[in-house]
Structure formats: C-alpha cells, structure tokens
Amino acid sequence: MMGIQPTLLISDAVLFLLLAAVGAYVWRSRRSERARATWRGVFAARMGRWSAWVMVFFVSVGVFDSLHFRVAVETPAGQAQQYSGEVLSVLDTVLTPLRTASEKTYSAPLAATLLVKESVTLADGSVARLAPAIAHVHPLGTDKVGQDVLYLALKSVRTGLLIGTLTTLVMLPLACALGIAAGYFGGRVDDAIQYLYTTLNSIPGVLLIAAAVLVVDVQIDAHGEWFNSAAARADLRLLALCAILGLTGWTGLARLLRAETLKLRELDYIQAARAFGVSHGRILARHVLPNVAHLVIITVVLDFSGLVLAEVVLSYVGAGVDPATPSFGNMINAARLELAREPVVWWPLATAFAFLFTLVLAANLFADAVRAAFDPRGAG
C-alpha cells in the first residue's frame, strides 16, 4: 500500500476558506425568513434552478481538483518516507484512465487511429503509409502532444472557477470599505476615495492588468525561493493574477455602494441612530451594511462570468495564468492555429469553447435569477 501525503496549495486553502464563508452565509440566512424567501425565489425560476445544477457540477469538479496530494515513492528501509514531486488531485485519481492514456499526437474524437499517417514496416517486409492505431479511446480526441482533450478541459474548470471567485475575495473588502466610507462620511474622505477610483478607472483595464502582471512576473522570476515546485509556482502566479484583477476591479462596486450609502445616510432611522449617539462603526455594521448587501451579492454573481471570459483574453494577450496551468485561455491559445492544419484539427478548440460557453452561460443565467430575486426593480 503506497502512502499519500496531502498537499495544500495556497489557492486550495483560500478556496476552502471561501467555501466555508459561503457555508456560514447559508447557515445564517437559514434562520432569516426573508433571506430564505429570496433564495427560494432564485431557485423557483426554471432558469435559476437549471443553471444552479450546472454550476454545482462545475464547482464539484473544481473542488475535487483542489484536494491535492503527493504519492509516496519507493524509499529504502530506514529512511524517511519520500514523496513524488508531482502534485495530484482527487479529480486526477478519478480520471486516471483519461490522464494516463496518452497518445503520440492528434487523434480525432472516438477515432481508432491517429490523425497522421506514418511509414510502417509490415510483416512481409514492405513499407506502407497508414495511420497507427491508438492505444485508448478518447471521447473528445487528443491534442498535439497526445493528451486527452476531455481531461484537459475538466482540469481547466478549476482555474476558471478560482479566477471568478478568488478575485471577488480581494475585490469585496476594498469595494465595501471604500465605497461605504465614501458615501457615509462624505467630505474629504469622499473626495480622496473618488480621486482614487477615478484614477484607477482612467487606465484602460487590460493595460493596467497587463502592466501589473508583467511586473509580478519579473518578481516571481527573481525570487526562486518563494516556491518549491512547479505546481507551487503556477499556483503563485494564479493567485497573483486574482489579486491584480481584484485590486483593479473594485471601482465599479465601490461606486454603486457609495451612491446607495449616500441615499441611506439621509434616511430617518440612520439619522435617529446618530441622534442617539450610536457609534459610526455600529451604524455602518448594523444599519448600512445589511441594507446594501443585495448589491454586493448581485455584483459578485454578475462579475463571475466576466472574469472567466477575461482569463481567455488575458492569456491571449500574454498576461494570463502560467502557461503550464491548464486553463481555457491556454487551451484556446494552443489550439487556435490548428484550424489551419490539413486535415483540420477542430476538437481541442471546440471542446474549450463548448466548456467555456456552458460554464459562462450557466453563470449568466444564475446571475439573472439572483438579480431578479434580490432586486425586482432592476431586472432587465
């Protein structure tokens, strides 16, 4: 029996922390009749229910792909147990038949032979050109280096999910703190915060992100001591990308929150709380934050699909995740020139786009259901 050593990448830890936070939110809102009714509204709509199931599928793929471990390798007796340098996930174990079944090069979906012909010496000594038989059946074919395309697409799901969610984790505290502070305190604080987000907003988004990614790349290259494996390095780059997207993407929500807080501030119950001498911190926590929470939830769900799509563009621009990380952007980037081949290799590209489309469409439909339930007025 080979031992395993659980391995926790930083992004895994953050993801589980996020799941715990969502769990806590669910547990808390179970007790509130109103929150329960609103969420029931989300799932009562047919689109909301269906898209939620699709999202559950993608999220489970992502979670199983985040339970990482390393397999023990043969170690001479008496020495400390050693582990393989390769980090695997539970998803990898489930997909072992796909992961290990690699071919020499391209093969079409469900094909029995490779795509290209080779010169083969037959039993009677003559040489014939024919396409060699493949070792395994691949439901969606194999790519240039013979990797299973379905496996690659499933592995890309985690990257998309992480970018869509971890970014929010960075963006939310900034947007909430600054947006609400600007609206509530007004005056100098408002001026300073407005200046900050106008400045950030004025820089073209992709350029700012690309510039920050360039700079972070230089830092990661210069600091080999920050990571101890290729997986950790790729993980670090992914986290850095999320942080950059979050640091540059908080302005939209902050503006919304500022405007809403400006309105709330003048309402009677907050004026009354002030007159009673309730502290600012308490007013913000008890009276303002719960009344802007619907905006936060709507924005988080709406932003998700945009972020997943942004990864593809950023990877193309050269400011995306690590080239070794499986992601839809990297898949599309690697496959986009294959349509020009003869015979045409369309399946890696088609698979990547199909998975991406399903994920983003489900996210968009779910976001619509959430928005309709939380903000009946703004449903469009």
Partner: protein, 325 residues
C-alpha cells in the same frame, strides 16, 4: 463654457499625476531597472557590467527622485521620475527598447486603429440601439423573451470565438473576404469588412441588453402612459419619447469611449494584422517592453479624461436644462 473647461482641466491634472505616480511605482518601485535589464538580457548568469550597459543604453542609469551628481536643477531633472515619467505630460514618450521613438510610432499607428474602430463603434451602436428598441417594442411577448435568451447566449461566448469562427467561416471556407491584412485608403476597404463585422457582433449581447434595460426603465414612466393615452402611435412614443429621454444615460456610456477609439482593439488588431496601436500594445506586452506599456497607459488615461469632458459637453448639447459653468 470656457471657465468650465478650464476647471475640468484643473481636475484632470491630479488624476494624470496619479496615473503617472502609479505606473512609476509599478515599473520602478516594485520592479527595478536592474530586473528589467536582466529580463531583457535573459538568463540568470549575466554580468553586472552587462546590466549596467543595458541601463546606460536605455537611460535607466539614474536615481529615482534625486540625483546628487547633477548641478542645480539637474539634481531633480536628471532622475528616472522626471525623465521617464513626468516627460509623458509633454507627450514625450521616449524610445522603445528597440530604439525607435514611441511618439512617432503612436502618430503613425493611431490612424489604422481609428479606421477599424470608428466604423465598428458607429455601426455597432446603431445596431445595438435598433435591436434594443425592437425588443422593447415587442415587450411582454414571446419575441422579447426569445430575444433576451439569445442575447444572454451571445454574451456567454468568448470574444475569441467570434474572431476565430468568423475568420474560418467567412474568409477560409466561403472566401468572401481576405483572412487578414490592411491597406490604407479605399483600396483597403475589403480588409475592413471582417474585423468591423466581428467587432460589432462580439458586443451585441452585453450592449443590447444594457440598452434594452434602459429603454424598459424609461417605458415604465408615467409620461409614456400619458403619451399612449393621448393616442400617439407606438412608433412615435418609442422613438420620440423613450429614445429621447434615454439619451442621457446612453451618452454617459458612449461618449466617454470615443477618444479611446484611437487606441484600437488589442484582439481584433492582432488577429487581423492591422498595424494600429492595439497590435503595437500587444506586441509590447509580449516583448515585455515596459517603455511602450507605460506610454500607452498614460495615453489611455489622457484620452479617458478627454472622454469625460466630452460627455459633459454632450449633456449640455442634448438636454437644454444642463448648463455648464
């Protein structure tokens, strides 16, 4: 009006200065010129002399803010901040890593960008508004429902899919248009068809939905009911009342991007081989040419602020109640 413009310019200066400081902090604070030199010379085993030589060649061999070696004003001016960052205010962008003058390149490349971006913008806006009005006209019917579902599907498709799909379908299989390329003047018109079309299509989902929501909000107001009640034709209500009153929120989103059309689109230009600023930027990012990226960031902010000012002017133009002072 003049005083208003002057005041807006005064507001713009601190923002540009902020952008300037931010990029300076990114490119010279977080990463140093030494890092840049090592990156360009490649590999780990580079001699300190090689790094120094690269820095001298590209003008990075200066202190950040204060140069004790200089005399008089040069103590302050012979620094990275003034030479590399503040000079951008004078639209002096310096030289790229390959030694070419960035300002000249920008002047040359902004026209192809505009030639592609302007028709995309104008035709796209017209199409989005028309589709949105069409859907609002048929609101609460099956046409609207199907239309919205289609729009959500369209906005769930990656922009890269439209580009690659369009190139394969229209250029490779049907051979209606060349797959990529660019020629100035009328003779290059057939090169523009595909990028403009794809640029328009890739924006349909998001923009049309946005405009539809705007129009629907407008259609819910009392004055629309009154207009219907007094017997105006539905077309007149739609075009005159709803479209007219939605003009302000439409202008808010639209006018601000007009100056930025000069910057072009990264994806379109690089896929279609258009020698504009978009492909210039993407090449610079891929070659890690920090000087060009810095110049484009500054130019982008400058054009954005210009767009904000144009937006205010456009308010005064469409709405007689708005007075700029």
């Amino acid at each position: 009006m003049i005083t208003y413009l002057i005041r807006r310019l005064a507001y713009a200066l601190p923002i540009l200065l902020g952008v300037n400081l931010l990029t300076f902090a990114l490119f010279f604070g977080v990463s140093s010129p030494d890092d840049m030199a090592r990156l360009h010379l490649g590999g780990k085993r580079i001699t300190a002399e090689a790094v120094e030589r690269w820095k001298v060649q590209h003008g990075y061999d200066l202190p950040h803010f204060y140069n004790p070696a200089g005399e008089g004003v040069a103590k302050v001016t012979q620094t990275l901040f003034v030479q590399k960052s503040l000079k951008l205010f004078a639209l002096d962008f310096g030289a790229a890593d390959d030694g070419r003058d960035i300002g000249r390149e920008i002047g040359k490349r902004m026209w192809p960008s505009l030639v592609v971006a302007l028709p995309t913008f104008v035709l796209g806006l017209g199409a989005y508004l028309a589709i949105a009005l069409f859907l609002v006209f048929f609101r609460n019917t099956a046409i609207d429902t199907v239309g919205v579902i289609l729009l959500v599907a369209l906005m769930s498709i990656s922009g890269l899919f439209y580009v690659i799909g369009g190139q394969v379908l229209l250029a490779k299989w049907w051979q209606w248009v060349p797959i990529s390329g660019y020629a100035p003047g009328l003779s290059g018109l057939h090169f523009l068809v595909l990028p403009v079309l794809i640029g328009m299509v890739s924006g349909i989902g998001d923009s049309t939905r946005f405009y539809r929501a705007l129009f629907l909000e407008e259609a819910g107001h009392d004055y629309v009911r009154t207009a219907h009640a007094k017997g105006l034709s539905p077309f007149r209500v739609l075009f005159r009342h709803i479209l007219g009153n939605a003009a302000i929120p439409i202008l808010t989103g639209v006018v601000v991007v007009i100056p930025r059309l000069f910057l072009g689109s990264l994806i379109l230009e690089s896929f279609f081989g258009i020698p504009g600023l978009g492909s210039y930027t993407i090449d610079a990012i891929q070659a890690q040419d920090f000087a060009i990226v810095r110049a484009m960031v500054f130019l982008g902010s400058l054009l954005y602020i210009l767009g904000l000012m144009l937006t205010d002017l456009s308010y005064a133009w469409v709405d007689p109640r708005v007075r700029l002072q």
